[in-house]
């Protein structure tokens, strides 16, 4: 993968730049020794690494503003960073960039149950937001699998989703306001405890902008009362096609589960070997979770059972207790870890219309044969967000490149089927060069113009999201 040539002037001025940053931050908030900056050389897309110029860890919005003013006036690129769990290389540094990490911005600023909001600093981890309101039986709905580690800042930048977004929506549907610092240091407040924008929906654009429009330092989030209870059912089928049909029938019957997760045979086998959840050895497995009181849960599971039985499942196991629920979820939750045990893998994230599921799974199988690399599928079936995991050997020369080519083919397939390149992980560097598969140059130009407004000098996370060829003239200007 290609990255822009680092700005030689910036590289040569490293010492001065560090001194200037030190003048506006406490001594321990500027990291410049290569041994320490190495910790920031990549995010969870570990195939790509680059040690940044230096790292700053501000503790307030004012400090963020001070840092950005310095970088802005001297044309130094800035890469915002939350917890570094991006799977798309969104937080990957360039050699001439300052990494602006928000890890020290982790306070809860306000909890307000009457208005069902929480205001937090953006470095706070996703799970600890729920942690802050759990005692009152509230929760923050978007729940990416990485929720223990990932920060709200990264969630906002990537518009992250989670297993329960079929019912509760993704980050953008649960975000009410932000405090954000523009690249020139201007602090802006957008939204708040009230709903909707007075003018253009700037909040809607900032969410999902991958750290390219501003640095988010605070967020107002919607919190919800926890449901009375939740229980999953596990259903095994001997064909992907039938499992897909079952999902569609459930949705058409007017049932809206909070989660519908899908695993295929390779994934079932790997998780079974890894975590022993007691899954049936079958072609396709659905885990469907519903919420409510005991009687509401029983009624919904009853309807789901009725529909599933029409499709002749090889197994149907309703959870009757907390313990059984945990066991059903165990395999799904350890799916990524299980795959990691057997092989290196690359996790794709394309979305397809649910109705194309059987076709797309069949085509993925063919692509897998063609490249000679195995694929395991685990994904959010209710909304069509697929996570094909391509297995490869990082130590085998050429395997990563082969894997990337195969991934690109699968993502192009998702777009052809009526879907998109990424459902929740973001474009980052990983899918940057595939953007023309989904967008015309006019479509992309409109997005670039939007960035021109927020960051005219193209200093914020500039080598991401768009093909380098499309942004070259702007980055050079």
């Amino acid at each position: 993968m290609q990255m822009p040539t680092p700005d030689a002037t910036v590289l040569s001025r490293k010492d001065q730049i560090v001194r200037q940053l030190q003048s506006v931050l406490p001594p321990d908030a500027v990291i410049s020794h290569p041994e320490e900056t190495r910790a920031y050389e990549c995010d969870a897309l570990t195939a790509y690494r680059c040690v940044p110029l230096c790292v700053v860890l501000p503790s307030s919005t004012q400090e963020v503003s001070d840092v950005l003013k310095i970088c802005h006036s001297q044309g130094i690129p800035v890469v915002p960073r939350g917890a570094g769990t991006s799977l798309a290389g969104g937080a990957l540094p360039t050699a001439d960039s300052v990494i602006l990490g928000v890890a020290r911005l982790n306070d809860v600023l306000e909890t307000d149950y009457d208005n069902r909001i929480i205001r937090v600093q953006s470095g706070r981890t996703n799970l600890s937001v729920t942690g802050a309101v759990e005692d009152e039986d509230f929760f923050y709905a978007p729940d990416p699998s990485s929720q223990l580690a990932c920060a709200i800042a990264g969630n906002i930048a990537m518009n992250s989703g989670g297993a329960h977004c079929l019912k509760y929506g993704v980050t953008t549907n649960n975000l009410l306001g932000v405090t954000m610092v523009l690249m020139d240091g201007t602090v802006v407040e957008i939204g708040g405890a009230h709903l909707d924008a007075p003018g253009l929906d700037l909040l809607g654009v900032i969410c999902g902008s991958e750290g390219q429009l501003g640095v988010v330092t605070e967020a107002t989030l919607r919190i919800l009362r926890k449901p009375e209870g939740a229980r999953p059912v596990l259903i095994g089928f001997d064909s992907n096609e039938v499992a897909g049909k079952c999902v569609s029938d459930i949705i058409r019957a007017g049932i809206l589960p909070v989660a519908i997760e899908f695993m295929d045979r390779p994934c079932i086998r790997a998780t079974e070997a890894f975590a022993h959840p007691g899954y049936p050895d079958c072609e396709a497995l659905l885990i469907i979770e519903v919420e409510g009181s005991d009687s509401e849960i029983a009624a919904q599971l009853g309807l789901i059972r009725e529909i599933a039985m029409r499709h002749k499942p090889v197994e149907l196991r309703e959870s009757g207790s907390e313990e059984e629920s945990a066991r059903i979820w165990l395999g799904r939750k350890s799916a990524f870890g299980a795959m990691g045990q057997i092989s290196d893998y690359m996790c794709l994230d394309g979305t397809i219309p649910v109705s194309s599921l059987p076709l797309v799974l069949r085509r993925i199988g063919e692509i897998s044969d063609q490249y000679g690399l195995d694929v395991a599928n685990v994904f959010h079936a209710g909304d069509g967000n697929m996570h094909p995991l391509i297995l490869y050997d990082a130590n085998k020369p050429g395997d990563l490149e082969l894997c990337e080519q195969m991934g690109a083919d699968i993502l192009r397939l998702c777009v052809e089927a009526g879907g998109c390149l990424t459902g929740e992980h973001g474009v980052g560097v990983e899918k940057r060069d595939l953007m023309f598969a989904q967008f015309t140059s006019e479509d992309l130009e409109a997005q670039l113009r939007l960035k021109d407004v927020f960051d005219p000098k193209w200093l914020l996370n500039p080598a991401k999201v768009f093909p380098l060829s499309a942004t070259e003239s702007r980055r050079r200007a």
């Binding site: 009230h194 949705i251 015309t440």
Partner: protein, 371 residues
């Protein structure tokens, strides 16, 4: 008036325009008053592009009548979850509401508090910018983070960034049953507290409104029949210390209550200006007390205030809390002195102006509508 038949004709019309254009859908929502320029109507760009009930998605062209879409979805037991308001009663307009107009004005109803606004259901958009270029964002799948979310930007942009030609939505199942839990006799303060409590219970309230005239506080529940009656009972019990609680289960009656709420029917045929205020729910009663309004309605648990006030009153100085106020219905005389939309703080106003300049460099689309 220009009425292009499809998206490419629309693009040609915009590209060839020599002066300002007044973008028109069904003309039922003249929020913002008269716009100068030649009328460009999207009414002929209509029809269903795709409906996939099993994937909960529908794609329609901008000029498609809202009613036609609602009918199509109802036949499959589905609906647009955000419950768009029909402005005709309030604005005294005639005509057919189009889906493009709904999106351009980000029109959402009482269910906003549960499922989000129009912009939250919107998953894809195609539009023609001020240069006459056709642009798409999003698509037809409900999870999509590929590129910037111009979909959100177009929702509520009132035709100032582009002329919408096609929209895609996530739809939801229509419920088997609905009920209203109604509390009688509450003053505004108590009503907002009651709604806060209701929304903090685990019963999935899909509407929370208060009508001071008559002192009715309404909470809506929707879903499978047994579940609705279970939750209605629980909710009524949880609210019993507020006063006299009644459960209404008659489908027609509940539908009518919420249709009236959604359409602000109480202000139909009234005299005066109509404002729409968005505030933090707990701030609402104090704001209302300052307004000297002829009549008000609280929706969204108090977060949305509809206020009927004497013509010519500017409510913005009375807001005094975070939030915003939109002048929805007013005479030309009021509009001459009071802006339709809440002015933004300087840095945000600069961004908004920058976006308009990028998307519509000639400044011809609904000129002056948003500043």
């Amino acid at each position: 008036m220009m009425e292009p038949a499809d998206e490419s004709q629309l693009a040609e019309a915009v590209a060839a325009a020599v002066g300002p254009l007044c973008i028109k859908g069904g003309g039922t929502r003249p929020v913002g008053g008269r716009i100068e320029g030649e009328t460009l109507s999207t009414a002929a760009i209509k029809g269903i592009t795709l409906y996939d009930p099993g994937a909960l998605t529908v794609v329609v062209r901008a000029g498609t009548p809202l009613a036609e879409i609602e009918e199509l979805l109802a036949a499959e037991g589905q609906r647009l979850a955000f419950e768009p308001m029909d402005h005709r009663l309030l604005m005294g307009t005639k005509g057919t509401s189009t889906i493009g107009g709904v999106v351009a004005a980000n029109v959402s109803g009482p269910r906003r508090i549960q499922v989000g606004a129009c912009r939250d259901s919107l998953i894809g958009v195609r539009f023609v910018d001020g240069r006459g270029t056709i642009i798409k964002s999003g698509g037809r799948v409900m999870k999509n983070v590929t590129g910037y979310d111009l979909v959100k930007l177009m929702a509520g942009s009132y035709g100032t960034l582009g002329v919408i030609s096609e929209v895609a939505f996530k739809v939801l199942p229509a419920p088997e049953a609905t009920a209203s839990v109604v509390i009688h006799g509450l003053g505004d303060d108590a009503a907002v507290r009651a709604m806060a409590r209701a929304l903090s219970e685990p019963y999935d309230v899909s509407g929370a409104a208060h009508v001071p005239d008559g002192q009715n506080t309404l909470l809506r529940l929707e879903g499978f029949a047994e579940s609705v009656s279970y939750r209605a009972g629980k909710l009524a019990a949880a609210l019993s210390d507020f006063g006299d609680v009644e459960i209404v289960e008659d489908r027609e009656e509940v539908a009518e209550q919420w249709r009236n709420m959604r359409n602000v029917a109480a202000f139909a045929d009234s005299k005066g200006d109509v404002w729409r205020l968005s505030v933090k729910p707990s701030d609402a009663p104090a704001v209302v007390a300052r307004l000297d309004a002829h009549d008000v309605i609280y929706d969204w648990g108090g977060g949305l205030i509809w206020a009927l006030v004497a013509a010519g009153t500017d409510l913005r100085p009375l807001l005094q809390v975070p939030g915003h106020a939109t002048l929805v219905r007013a005479s030309a005389a009021t509009r001459a002195g009071v802006a339709t939309f809440q002015p933004e703080p300087a840095p945000l106003a600069a961004i908004s102006a920058g976006l308009r300049a990028q998307f519509d460099p000639r400044g011809i689309l609904n000129k002056g509508m948003m500043g």
